[in-house]
Symmetry: C2
Subunit: 178 residues, 2 copies
């Protein structure tokens, strides 16, 4: 299915709703090998007068190394029937699994970044990191610390300028939006 | 006009589009005095399994002191005809102006946070800060530094958990959404 470019905010609502169910962050390691992980957190909007996708990645994750290697990532919004793929990609590490091969996913060449996009996903954001910082342990509300960080391993925050958004030609129809 | 509570993501698309044109961040200082500033940057989504509004405020701003005093803020999406109010609130400081009085804006009591909301705005997000961190000067893409930070004065990043979203009953009609 060919993908067509759309405005960065055309599917913002669907993307924000999809994030809670899990979307796929795709990247490439220093050797060029594609990698992906599931994320359930992220925000979309505009910062530094640029369309922006903010994602958080724990320091322990392989994706962290990959994003640091290339300075970019893609966010891939899966179709609802790909829930098993998302769960798998959120369970194992790219350090010892080729998640693309094991799940029959296709790492396609992005138009604007080194990170691949996932062909089987209907909606893709190509993002270049323009700032990264770390969450500060002592600046958390206590309920967030107790829920997510009892083992430490805090998150890095990546601000990814959205360079391109592309969707399957029949994306809206498949999601029942039209 | 009475405001009614809606799902946090019901107007995400309209909010993301409004951010670029300017929305109003409202807060309250340590003495209880309401304050507001215009922001053109922000992102909406889900982080730490919570609906989240991410905003950035320069350290020099009066709003920075206010948010640090209360630990919360509101984001107020104005109607298009309020463009002059937004411009004014982005030009002068709450340190030496009562922007509410000078623009005839009403600081109303929020349901869940100390910060007021702006009655004249159609759509309001009440947000509690659950994490804050600072951008890191050396982690910027060079084009962002040269465009926004030649004078320093870097931004603090506030992650505001969205506790409540409320809209004017006729919000959708007034924006031509229905």
């Amino acid at each position: 299915m060919a993908k067509i470019e759309v405005a960065y905010d055309q599917y913002a609502q669907e993307t924000i709703r999809a994030i809670g169910k899990g979307v796929l962050l795709a990247s490439r390691d220093a050797g060029g090998r594609p990698n992906t992980m599931a994320i359930g957190w992220g925000t979309v909007g505009s910062v530094w007068s640029r369309p922006m996708f903010v994602v958080l990645v724990r320091h322990s994750r392989y994706t962290h190394e990959c994003i640091d290697a290339t300075g970019d990532f893609t966010v891939n919004v899966p179709y609802p029937q790909m829930a098993d793929d998302v769960e798998f990609c959120g369970t194992v590490s790219g350090r010892d699994h080729d998640k693309f091969a094991e799940r029959g996913l296709t790492a396609a060449e992005s138009a604007t970044v080194a990170s691949p996009y996932i062909e089987e996903c209907g909606l893709v954001y190509e993002c270049k990191v323009v700032q990264y910082t770390d969450v500060v342990p002592e600046n958390f509300a206590p309920e967030v610390i107790s829920e997510f960080y009892t083992g430490g391993d805090f998150h890095r925050v990546y601000f990814g300028q959205i360079l391109r958004v592309a969707v399957d030609e029949d994306f809206a129809t498949r999601l029942g939006l039209t």
